[in-house]
Symmetry: none
Subunit: 209 residues, 4 copies
């Protein structure tokens, strides 16, 4: 599944410019997902996008940092939209936790390049100076989401006793584990994996009977 960023991601861009940006962005994401961040150079992106010169990338994004910034923004955008579509009205904490875990894994199934790219860029976000979306920040955001739910659930008595920060971080890394497994073996049944993961953390967080 190819990532096709919206043609009008930001206001004030002409149609052609937005199209070019989308074209380059798409090629960049594909390249990172394919070869990893390290081997992703302007030259490689140029080839994949069928551009005549690498210069045009710098023209549209100013910088390598600017390009990566845009890549992250795009990927995060896609993820958010995906999450919104899946969101149901449950307020039961245990059900919510299960939904979040399964949603993450399903996103991995539907947009593996997105997940890959987010990981790659976050892991190598120490190169330049002016990144507004740094690796730790990204990670912290994701963990924070889980931690909040866990704490609320504990207060409401929906969960048992455990340290929310540790469990939250473990959930996040468990999902990374799913991504790693899927990368290593694309035939992996992610639905099963997601269910199993949700079960796992259900048992872990269940209140003492």
């Amino acid at each position: 599944m190819q990532i096709t960023p919206d043609l009008q991601p930001e206001l004030g861009l002409s149609v052609t410019e937005a199209a070019r940006r989308a074209q380059i962005l798409s090629a960049t994401i594909a390249t990172i997902a394919d070869l990893g961040y390290r081997k992703t150079s302007f030259a490689r992106i140029k080839e994949r996008a069928g551009l005549s010169s690498t210069r045009i990338i710098g023209y549209h994004f100013g910088n390598k940092a600017g390009l990566m910034q845009a890549v992250v923004t795009t990927a995060l955008d896609i993820k958010q939209k995906f999450a919104l579509e899946l969101a149901d009205g449950t307020t039961d904490r245990a059900t919510m936790l299960r939904a979040m875990i399964e949603s993450e894994v399903r996103f991995l199934r539907d947009y593996p390049e997105c997940v890959q790219v987010l990981r790659e860029v976050a892991a190598n976000a120490d190169d330049p100076e002016g990144w507004s979306v740094s690796g730790p920040l990204l990670e912290g955001f994701r963990i924070g989401q889980f931690e909040r739910i866990l704490r609320q659930g504990q207060q409401e008595g929906a969960f048992g006793e455990f340290q929310p920060d540790v469990v939250a971080r473990t959930i996040a890394h468990a999902i990374d584990g799913a991504a790693a497994a899927f990368t290593a073996d694309p035939s992996l049944d992610l639905d099963r994996y997601g269910r199993e993961l949700a079960d796992l953390f259900e048992r872990t967080t269940a209140p003492r009977s």
Copy 2:
């Protein structure tokens, strides 16, 4: 704590050569732990080791791949010795699992650079042609250990029902999570973290009552 590889890691080396190798290896590990794999170049290693030329690195290890190979071997060696010292004679699967998890976290506490280096190298091991210890292989080894215990425990009735591969992978990544948390905040109480992790997976793997 500085990593000091054994002076006689391989047979057939003179004392001076072994010493040089150890010196370079130590500097390499320190550099990777400090700056990450990406910024670790021959030049950087040269500086830290106080060498006059980068040439000597290539001389002793032939290659960048060769150097990294040696780094991984060294780190794995240290880890294995650490594990052996801690091993007790338990045959109870649940106790063994707890011991393994806590041992991993304790290793992280005592040899953080080692863990860091193993992660960094494994994550960037797609570069070269001639690696005998590739990233996935390394990962697979670690997961395999957990998976074996889990399966045996299930057969013996010590554990409940779950998919061993998923849980095993999740444990491995949960420990990576501990490493990431420790990197982000070195004042983290790893003993607490280890205990919590062991508790977490105890609950997860416990047999249905």
Copy 3:
């Protein structure tokens, strides 16, 4: 003090065009005075002038050479007006020389960016092909003024014996010295400096008693 070029520097320009030219010119002069000629690029000028694209610069001035040409013309214009305002009706050569030197230094005090810009552009005027006001030419013009006075004064017996070309050139560079000193230390008392310089060359040019 900001340089604001006249809005109608050349005939046949509409009001808006003249305004745009003035805006760009002003930004260019400020940039050169601030960062020096070398770091003054279209991009930098664009930023300071708040333009949307560098393209508009080329549109109005055709060329970098054209832009610099205009800059020099503007600066020279300002200088000439300044000199005219100060000019008194003296015909005494010694008094005229003193007046010219002090006028130059006072101009430096009142329009330091102008002087800076003239120096910077003159010093780097070997770049292009089509400059009508080249560096040496600019320098020659200034020196010529002094030299003329000196020769006339010598003929009239107002000055002693010396080689007018050498002294003229020395005066010009002495004033450059004042500029350099002022750049290095903006708190410098330029009036004192100017008087001292005038005294200096008065002694030098005085007739043998």
Copy 4:
């Protein structure tokens, strides 16, 4: 006259390395003197020195900054040796001042590229970060020499009343004027120019009779 740096400028260099360094240095100085600092690139130096690749320059000097550092050091070295050879035992301040001025101009006559290079590099020494010999520093050093003599002479009554800082700076820039004149017209009689300059400042600094 070609600048040929000593073959053993610094200890610890092998003969071949010193020779290469000298070769590159010589080509660099010639290039700067010929085309100016701005147009002096590794590629241009490579051509003039007959090297196979620009890479070798970076190899020997590490950096462009390193190369320029070495250029300045070399030029300053040559100048110092020149000055030492000319130094006579006079202690009379007026004579010393004259000697210094004429020595500077004679150096310009004998090593015009050296003077040119020093000027060019000093004028463009704001590019990088790690320069130990910056432009203002270099200038300050030269002016300081003149200022010291002037002050001492005033105390001893050998000179009249004037502000030593202004006069010192003026002398330095007067010599720059000679360099500029010589660059514009290489057939210029520098000996005459130097004598005239010395006369000029003799009159300026002479005690009131």
